[in-house]
């Protein structure tokens, strides 16, 4: 137990990062549940390849990360705008990707 406590302490957890990873874990759980309830079917949308639901979530998350990084590198405006853009991108990929 002490080793576990040391490990968690050394990970230097903060609330925002904890919430972020809890969100990712929840998303994975929802995706697993959805896969059992409604098995995914590959489809072709605006992305240049056929994708499963999992592919689209992965591409959406990856794109969201790059949008935030590009915003930090190129734009001086608050990061919230990048987050709004990332949510829009994620929804776009999930629905039409």
């Amino acid at each position: 137990m002490e080793a576990l406590a040391t490990l968690i302490r050394s990970m230097a957890w903060t609330m925002p990062v904890g919430l972020f990873f809890a969100g990712v874990a929840l998303l994975l759980l929802v995706m697993t549940g959805l896969q059992f309830a409604y098995p995914t079917i590959e489809r072709k949308g605006f992305l240049p390849m056929t994708t499963t639901r999992g592919d689209r979530v992965f591409i959406g998350l990856l794109g969201a990360a790059w949008i935030h990084l590009a915003w930090l590198a190129l734009v001086a405006a608050p990061l919230w705008w990048a987050s709004i853009l990332a949510v829009l991108w994620f929804a776009l990929v999930l629905r039409f990707g």
Partner: protein, 290 residues
């Protein structure tokens, strides 16, 4: 009749989940935590938001290391993949010569990375190394400790020597898996060696080439030990690749926050490019078009 599902297999993959969690997920979560804090010790730390990301994204040293890294990986793939295919095609198919060739090919892969670096560090030296001395004796000025071009050449040649055998062995395995009937049919049709390669061997090697490209890209993009031992990132910053730059920040300067931010950017680049390579190569030859 309904298919009977046996979920006991999930317990068999449980050890893999545990190993991946310990070796990858926990360190990754730690790095993400560190990237948003100024950390002096686990108890003495301060939330800084995106400050580290903003500073490293504007850092010219990081831009330089990133460009060098891309150029290095591109050059490595450009040399090692065609050379690996060519050597695999030239290797004997059976008999004692095939066994000997396989053993010789496997030898560089068995040598630890730091030993490879040390071998080449000594071999390429202009004063005491056989290779360096020989090049200078031919009238070509060569000193990898002071000339950036010579340093690059040394690192590239060393990587080609060390890792082309991996591509060769993968391609060789792919070639040997092609049934003789394909070659017999090609011979009946009067196919030239080029046409046999283009329409039989290359498509049949697609799977192993995918693995070879992915492995060599990821490995070359993460290269650290060999160039660090040979040149230490120099002369100047000429061979400071991303991992060497990252180590300088993390270990040399003990700037854990910026180092964590660079690690996340590094991770995202590898993840994205591997995903793109995987998708492009798995769709190549299957007829799927964009």
């Amino acid at each position: 009749m309904d298919k009977i599902e046996n979920n006991k297999a999930w317990f068999l993959v449980l050890p893999v989940f545990v190993i991946v969690a310990i070796s990858a997920i926990i360190p990754l979560m730690t790095v993400v935590n560190y990237a948003f804090q100024d950390i002096f010790s686990p108890q003495d730390r301060y939330w800084v938001g995106t400050e580290w990301f903003e500073s490293v994204l504007a850092d010219d040293d990081l831009h330089g290391a990133l460009i060098r890294q891309f150029v290095f990986s591109f050059v490595i793939l450009l040399i090692e993949i065609p050379l690996g295919i060519a050597l695999a095609l030239a290797m004997p198919a059976r008999g004692w010569r095939a066994s000997l060739a396989l053993v010789l090919m496997a030898l560089p892969l068995l040598i630890p990375w730091n030993v490879v670096g040390t071998i080449w560090q000594v071999f390429a030296r202009a004063d005491i190394g056989l290779g360096g001395w020989l090049v200078n004796a031919l009238g070509i000025p060569y000193n990898y400790t002071s000339d950036p071009v010579a340093a690059w050449l040394t690192i590239v040649v060393m990587d080609v020597w060390h890792w082309t055998p991996l591509v060769v062995l993968l391609c060789y395995a792919g070639l040997r898996a092609i049934p003789d009937a394909y070659y017999q049919a090609a011979a009946i049709d009067g196919a030239t060696p080029w046409k046999v390669f283009r329409h039989i061997e290359l498509p049949k090697m697609r799977g192993v080439l995918l693995i070879a490209v992915l492995l060599r890209f990821m490995d070359s993009f993460m290269i650290y030990t060999e160039p660090f031992v040979v040149t230490g990132g120099g002369p100047g910053n000429a061979t400071t690749f991303l991992s060497i730059h990252l180590t300088k920040i993390a270990i040399g300067q003990m700037d854990l926050g910026p180092a964590a931010a660079i690690s996340i950017i590094y991770f995202l680049i590898i993840l994205t490019l591997s995903f793109v390579f995987y998708n492009v190569m798995t769709r190549m030859g299957t007829g799927e078009r964009a």
